[in-house]
Amino acid sequence: MTTPPPGTPTIVQFTPLPSQTHPSFWHKLTELKLDVLKLSDAEVEIGGRYGVGRVFRDREAAGEKWVGVGGSLGVDEGSFGGQTTTTTTTSVPVGTAVARGIVKNFNTIEEFKAADKSKIFNQVADKIWSSIHTTKSTTLLNTFLVITYADLKKYKYFYWFAFPAFVSKPAWYIDGALGWVGAAAAAAAATTTGGGGGGGPGYSHDQLKSILDQLHKSAHSGSKPLPYFLVRSSGTTTVDVVPVEEYDPSKDRYTDTLDSTGTGTGTGTAIGFIDPSAGEQNPGWPLRNLLAYIRALYPGDSTKRLKVVCWRDSYVPRGEDGWKSRVGVITLGDGDGTGVGDGKRPDAVGWEKNVQGKLSPRVADLAPMMDPTRLANQAVDLNLKLMRWRIIPSLDLEKIAGTKCLLLGAGTLGCYVARCLMGWGVRTITLVDSARVSFSNPVRQPLFQFSDCLNGGEPKAECAAARLKEVWPGLNATGVSLSIPMPGHPIPESPPSIMEQTRKDVERLERLIEEHDVVYLLMDSRESRWLPSVICRAKGKLVMNAALGFDTFLVMRHGARPAKGEEGGVDEDLKGARRHLGCYYCNDIVAPADSLTDRTLDQMCTVTRPGLASIAASTAVELMMSVIQHPDGFRAAAPPPQSNPNDYPHPSEGGEGEGSSVLGLVPHQLRGYLAQFRNLHVVGAVYDRCTGCSETVIEAYEKEGFSMMLRAFNDPKYLERLTGLDKLYDEGEKAFEGVDWDEGEDEF
C-alpha cells in the first residue's frame, strides 16, 4: 500500500466475513430435513461463531514472515441447538463471538435457484434494523442468513451465506498516514513522542491485559460474551469493558488532538468488537453494523469521530509488543448519513462471494466422505501412502496402482495373488480360468465359498472377480472363462468348431496379454504356461511365474527379450547371465509335453501343504513390486548370488545398486523349501535352445502366428526340432554312454 500524504482521508474498507461450514452441519441439516422439516421450507433459527483474526510467524519461512489468518463464521452440528449430547463447555473462549442466523432450506434445486434472494436478504436486514430501534440491543447486529438445497441422494449441498451489513453514506474515513495501528505500539508511540498521560490512541500492556481479562470474565460470569463492547478509560491506567448498550454520548464522547503523525492526546471511550479480520488496514465486517447502530441511536456530532478497537487477541501474548489488536480513529464523511434521524433503513450488502470471487452460491460435495465406496478407495490409498511418508519416500505408488495385472489361473495361487495385488492398490486385475468352482476349492482358495460350488459350480474366473469387487468395490476386476491350448495336447481336426474355438481362444489370450502390463502364470500344469510365455516374450510383458510342489515352490520372473543388438553372450562371471535372464523352460532339455494324461489323481492335482500357496503367491507379488520399482523395470539385472543370505544388503543400507530397487533385491528365481523354512536365490541364464524364449521360437511365432502354435500343440516333437534340442539330446546320449555317474550332486 502506498502511503498517502498526511491528513489524506482514506475510505475505511471492511474485510468480508467468510463462512466455514463444518461437515457435521451438513449431517445435521440432512437429519433435520429427513426427520423434522420434510417438505417444509420454513426458516429455521441457527447459531454460529466467529473468532478473531490471527497473525502468526510463518514457522516454515526463514526470518520474519507473518501470515494473517482471518476468522470465519463457523456453523456445525451445535448450530441447530437441541443436542443429544450434554456439553460441558469452557463457555465461549475469549476472542470468539456468537452470532444468530437463519437457515432456509429449499426442496428443489429449481426453487433454490429461482428464490427471490433480495427479498430474503432484505427481510433479514429489516429485522436487524428494527431491532436496533425497538430493543436498542446489539444481540442481532451480526445476524447471518444461509439458504440451502440438500441433494440427499448425491450427498451434494448447494448453499449461500449472507452477512447483511448496512452501507454508511457518507462512508467512514481514516487518516491515510496514520491508519490503523497496533494497539500496544500506538500507546508506546504516543508516550515516547510526548503524548503524555497515557494519551494517544493505543493502550499499555497492562491495559490490554485488563481488557482481555474483562472479556474473559464477562464470558464466564454467566452473562453472554460480548461481540461488541465499549472500552472506557477512567483515570490514566484503568480501563473498563462494558456492553455497548451502556453508551452515553455525553460521557463516552471521544476527543483528541492527534495530528497526522499520531502525536497528541485522546480521551474518551473507544468502541470495540471481536474482529475476525487479519488485515492490517482493514477492520472486519461486524464493525459495519456496530457503526450503524451507534449512528442510528446517537445521531449527534459526538459520534462522527470515533475511536475503534479491533480486538484480535485471544490470549496474553509472549511479549509486551505481541498484541495483535488494532486501533484507529475514524471520521464520518460530510453529511449525516442515511437512516440518521428519519429511521429509514440504509442499504445493506453482504452475500458471500464464492471461491471464484463471484456472487453466486457454493457447493459442497460430500460424497467422498459419505459414500462408502469412495471412502474405501481413500482408505486403501492411505495405508500405502503411509509407507511413503517415512519408510520408503521414493516408493512409486502411482506406478503400482496403474499396473494392469493378468492372472492366468484362478485357483489357489490366483486367489492369493489377487488379494495381495489388491493390498498394494493395484486397480486392474483380470483373472482367466476355464474351470468351475468345485467342492474341494473353497477351503484352499480364499475367494470362493460353499454356495459357489452348487449347481455345477460358478465359473472360477468370473466368480473370483465378483468376490474381489465385494472386498473392494473400487477395483476393476474382470473374470474371463478361457481354456489355454497346450503343446502336446493335439487339437482334433473334426469337428471344425474345435479348431475355430482354439483359434479364438488364442486370439483372446493375445489380446488380453496386449492389454495388461504383468502376466502371472498360476496354472496347475507345466505345459499350459508355454503359450503365454511365448506371447509375453514377444510382446515385452513382465511374466511372474509361480509353481508349487508338495512342500517346495518356485517363484520367478521371466527375463526380458534383449533389445536388438544387445543380445550379447553369457559372461563367465555370470554378469551376462544376470542381465539376460532365462524363462521357466530354459533349464529344460525336453519340450513341454502332455503331463496330465495317464497320471494318477495325486500326480494331476497339485497336492501341496496348504500354507505353501499363500507364501508362493505373496512372494511372487512382492517380487513383482520390487521389479517394477526398479529403474530398469523388467530388464533389471538380478543380484549376484550369495552363498549366505545374510550377505545380501538391506535396502536401508543403501543397497540400491545393481539387482536392487527401493524395495530391495530383484532376484530372478526363488526356490522355497517349506520343510527347511528356507528360500534359495537362483539365477538362470537365458538358453539359446529354449522352447519358451529362444529367438528361434519367438521369431517363428512372430512370422507364422497361429499355424506355428498349432504345430506345437499337435506335434510333440515340433518344438524340440525347431530349437535343436533333439540334436542335443542325441549328442548327449552318445557322449554319456559308458560314463558312471557319482550321485549326490545338488539337484540344482
Binding site: V12, Q13, F14, T15, P16, P18, S19, Q20, H22, P23, S24, W26, R54, E60, V69, G70, S72, G74, T84, T85, T87, T88, T90, P93, K117, Y157, V167, S168, A171, W172, L212, H216, H220, G279, S314, Y315, V316, P317, G322, D347, V349, W351, V355, Q356, G357, K358, L359, S360, P361, V363, A364, L366, M369, Q378, L382, L386, R390, I391, I392, S652
Partner: protein
C-alpha cells in the same frame, strides 16, 4: 510417580473435567493455547463414552491448488460498495479435534477432522500440508528411510477410522507409541502433588507428547 496409563475410563473422564475447569479459569496466554478451548461431550444414552473436543482453524503450509471449486456464474448483482474489501484472503481449514479414551491402550487418543470451508474433507495429501503437522513430522522429501535409521523416533501412525462415540469418519494418531513416550516423560517427573493434580498433570504431559507429532497450538 505417576501411572503410565489412565487405567480406566472413569479416571479419564475425571482428568478431562479437572483439566477443562483448570484452563477455563486461568487467563489465556500464549503458553497454554494447546490446553485451551476444550469441552467435555457426553451422550445422554451413552454416559460413559464421553470425550473432549474443540474447533480450530488451520492454514496450509505449502500452497496447494484450490481443490474446492464453485460455479463461475454470477447470479446476482449487488450495488458496488466501495467500503467492502475485495480480497480472497488466506485459505483456511476447519479442524475439529477430539480426545477420546482408548480402552485397549488405556490412554487418550487424538482424533481429528479437517475440512474445507464448504465442509468437504481434505484428502490425505492435502491434510499433511496443513499447519496441524510440523513440517519435519511428515515431510518425506527431505527425510529418507528415517524409520529405519531412527527406529526410536515418534512415528506418526496416522490412520483413518470412525470416531468411537460419534461414528463419523475421522483421522487419528495411533496410540501405540503414546504409552512408551509417556513412560519416558513421566519417569522424570518427581514433583509432589495431589491425586487430582496428578490427573491433570498426566493429561498435560500427554498433550506435550502428542504435540511432538501435531501442532496443537492455536
Amino acid at each position: 510417580m505417576i501411572d503410565v496409563t489412565m487405567q480406566t475410563r472413569l479416571r479419564f473422564e475425571k482428568a478431562c473435567r479437572l483439566f477443562i475447569s483448570k484452563y477455563d479459569s486461568v487467563l489465556p496466554s500464549f503458553s497454554n493455547t494447546t490446553f485451551r478451548g476444550w469441552c467435555w461431550n457426553e451422550y445422554n444414552d451413552l454416559p460413559s463414552f464421553g470425550y473432549m473436543s474443540r474447533s480450530t482453524a488451520l492454514t496450509v503450509r505449502l500452497s496447494t491448488r484450490a481443490s474446492v471449486v464453485d460455479d463461475a456464474e454470477q447470479i446476482i448483482d449487488e450495488a458496488v460498495d466501495e467500503a467492502s474489501l475485495r480480497s480472497p484472503g488466506t485459505q483456511t481449514f476447519a479442524c475439529r479435534q477430539y480426545v477420546v479414551y482408548s480402552a485397549t491402550f488405556q490412554v487418550p487418543c487424538l482424533y481429528f477432522t479437517i475440512s474445507h470451508s464448504n465442509g468437504t474433507p481434505l484428502s490425505a495429501d492435502e491434510l499433511v500440508h496443513t499447519s496441524l503437522f510440523h513440517s519435519a513430522t511428515l515431510d518425506s522429501t527431505t527425510t529418507t528411510s528415517f524409520a529405519v535409521t531412527h527406529p526410536s523416533s515418534l512415528f506418526p501412525l496416522l490412520s483413518q477410522g470412525d470416531h468411537p462415540s460419534l461414528g463419523t469418519p475421522c483421522w487419528y494418531l495411533h496410540p501405540c507409541e503414546t504409552v512408551k513416550s509417556m513412560q519416558e516423560v513421566l519417569a522424570e517427573d518427581k514433583t509432589e502433588m495431589s491425586k487430582e493434580e496428578r490427573l491433570v498433570r498426566w493429561l498435560e504431559v500427554w498433550f506435550l507428547v502428542i504435540g511432538n507429532m501435531v501442532d496443537l497450538r492455536v
